[in-house]
Symmetry: C2
Subunit: 465 residues, 2 copies
Amino acid sequence: MKNIFFKQVALFIFLIPFYATSQSSVQSSSDSLFIKQISDDIFQNGKTYEWLHQLTKGIGGRLAGSPQFAKAIDWGKKTFESIGVDKVYLQECMVPHWIRNGKDKAVITAVNNKPVITQLDVLALGNSLGTSSKGVNAEVFAVNNFEQLEANKEKIKGKIVFYNYHFNPTNISTFISYSDAGKYRWTGASRAAKYGALGVIVRSMSGATDNNPHTGGMEYNDSFPKIPAVAIGLQDADKLWNLTKSSSVKISMATHGKMLPDTIGANVIAELKGSEHPEEIISLGGHLDSWDINEGAHDDGAGVVQTMEVLRVLNALGYHPKHTIRFVLFANEETAGRGAEKYAAVAKEKKEKIIFAFESDAGGFTPRGFSFSVPPSSWTKLNTWKSLFEPYGGSTFTVGGGGADNEPLQEAFKTPVAELSPDSQRYFDIHHARSDVFENVNKRELLLGAVNITALIYLIDKYGL
Amino acid sequence: MKNIFFKQVALFIFLIPFYATSQSSVQSSSDSLFIKQISDDIFQNGKTYEWLHQLTKGIGGRLAGSPQFAKAIDWGKKTFESIGVDKVYLQECMVPHWIRNGKDKAVITAVNNKPVITQLDVLALGNSLGTSSKGVNAEVFAVNNFEQLEANKEKIKGKIVFYNYHFNPTNISTFISYSDAGKYRWTGASRAAKYGALGVIVRSMSGATDNNPHTGGMEYNDSFPKIPAVAIGLQDADKLWNLTKSSSVKISMATHGKMLPDTIGANVIAELKGSEHPEEIISLGGHLDSWDINEGAHDDGAGVVQTMEVLRVLNALGYHPKHTIRFVLFANEETAGRGAEKYAAVAKEKKEKIIFAFESDAGGFTPRGFSFSVPPSSWTKLNTWKSLFEPYGGSTFTVGGGGADNEPLQEAFKTPVAELSPDSQRYFDIHHARSDVFENVNKRELLLGAVNITALIYLIDKYGL
């Protein structure tokens, strides 16, 4: 009897997966065909790469408040209009206006009191204030981390602190290493100023093989003097660290950063009106601003043009969404996130029903999948679609992401959010560095990201979340 | 009763996966820990990138028969010796000795009989013979494919045939587009010579955005005249195609290719002797030769240094294999595959028991998984290991691959074979073009490939296939 039962069970077990497979393949065959159409159209007729060229080579670095950012807003609006859309508008918001204001310099001027001149490749951190016209001339105190800073707090006064914290090479997702190292850039200046430091030099948040410094946002703690702060390239960081091990090293730093009064910026928004649930909004976007010292090609030109491509291809295939699909180019992700705040504030004011918000802001690299912050029932539903993404490389679904520009929305309304997860191996080689330029974006990788994003938006529109 | 049965079945069904998971996670926790050690060691102490620099910048292009190829053999042997290994030896074989012998040129000399001078960027195809010293001066006959050639066979005589066959952008695996387009490069010259063509120009097998021509192997059919053959860059191909649509176009071609007598080359082989089954061999490798016009960084410098890295990291972690692991740097994959033939011939002669043969020859890009040609029972076993590769991006297992250098082995002995499947989006941008240089290999992507390969070799050594 046991054996018979076992046989029946075994049969049942073998049948279930087969039945499940055949069921889901019937259900999804029209979806897989439509996604193949999306992919073919993007690879044959896509404008993504051409738009990225316009945004990067035509406009360039687009720091919030800069003339280039104003140009980018205008370009975004006109490009949306050229694609064909139910509605395009600007959502104005005040943005901070930090300017670099000159060439950032750091020079080793003495080693063991012997005069030398060794230029270091540095970039002032975003939001940091410049040195006086005389610069900062002081001895370097090098530490690997905050623990070493605290242990030596009485030795910091009058020095330039050099944080040589290494980007951990062993994390396969480089975002983990970035999160880990980021505190030195964001808070390092004030933590050193607390103990009387005159300036800080931060090892770039990168594992690149070149010497490009990587800038990025920082914040002062108002309780302490607002000292200058620069990022240093990795080869120079190693050189400086080795020097400080055996010698006293003097550095002369000159930066020119200024915080001007807030100025007007805008989110650029386009909409395709839903045929069945026009009041329910699926939001997707990228951020239009970038750093000043590069072209913001991966960060986040890629997300901007992928967002536009979703609109283009849905139009090209004659797809009429059930829900309203909203395409958002956010202002000011890099220095303060004011575009995202404004977007959430308007959604609150207008009592909008945003059922899902998506962002692409992890670079235009080959897609691996998506990261979701959604309720359990949505997670279960999403996972039934995974096989549809397999042919396009985007079937790795993880939990926890959503994109920085969706955070205010998520905090205020628990909006289900997600972001594209491209392969992260190359991202921090170019992130916030001079090398984030058009030439370092691969056309097929960028397009394949757009394919996966469009497929996700299509499925959520068709089946809900 | 039916309901009770169903409940029991349901319980059973829910228990089985749980039990299976908990079983396999116990079984594999030591494996996942060891693979994490492999990964950490490769990312912290790996020599892969440094070796690639030596091979590409120190030696450069390594066409079979060239002085650089001889240097590469010497370098390979010495590098293996420096890692520490039970045995290193050269397996000599005769290789063809094709030389480019000068600068390949193609110039548009007349449009509708009006003289012009428009240089085109071309490279002679490997194995092709040069023009006479006067070059070939003739009108162009442009076709998109062989069907158009056949349909116009009476118009070909005395012309230069231009094959403008496009690399299909809609295949997500770019290898499919390459296989599809490859016949124009391999056989296009003789198919046109059959109808009296004096030369052929082949649109490069690539979807790149630049104008670099992509060379590669070709073969003459001895029944027809051996006419010169060049690959043309994509921008120049579009330009030429558009011109020929409305105008008669004359081109002057000059190439210098020569086939010298076969010369001596060698496979470079290292071995770690197995502790339990020394007579059973796990073989892995890449090919040491490359084209002459680049540094062969992805093709196949990456496979060479990843192979060496597997040896280095297993040694570094004190791993003693059960089976003999053999590391092979193959001679002459690009023009004739003589290294691979020799390897299989020696295996036959010595009655070697090669239980598995692996190759990395699809570029040093971020790994997606592996492609296997193995018996069904091995396939089932391999699939139980997939989750171990997930953290390292290499868990997509497909059927059908094995690497060109393992083909003679597979054909002779049905040896189970596999190859690394890196992301293919960028490969044919640089494949056989001047741009296949060290700078276009990303360190982390290259290393991550080595991590996945080592994990696979480790699991096969530990558990068999």
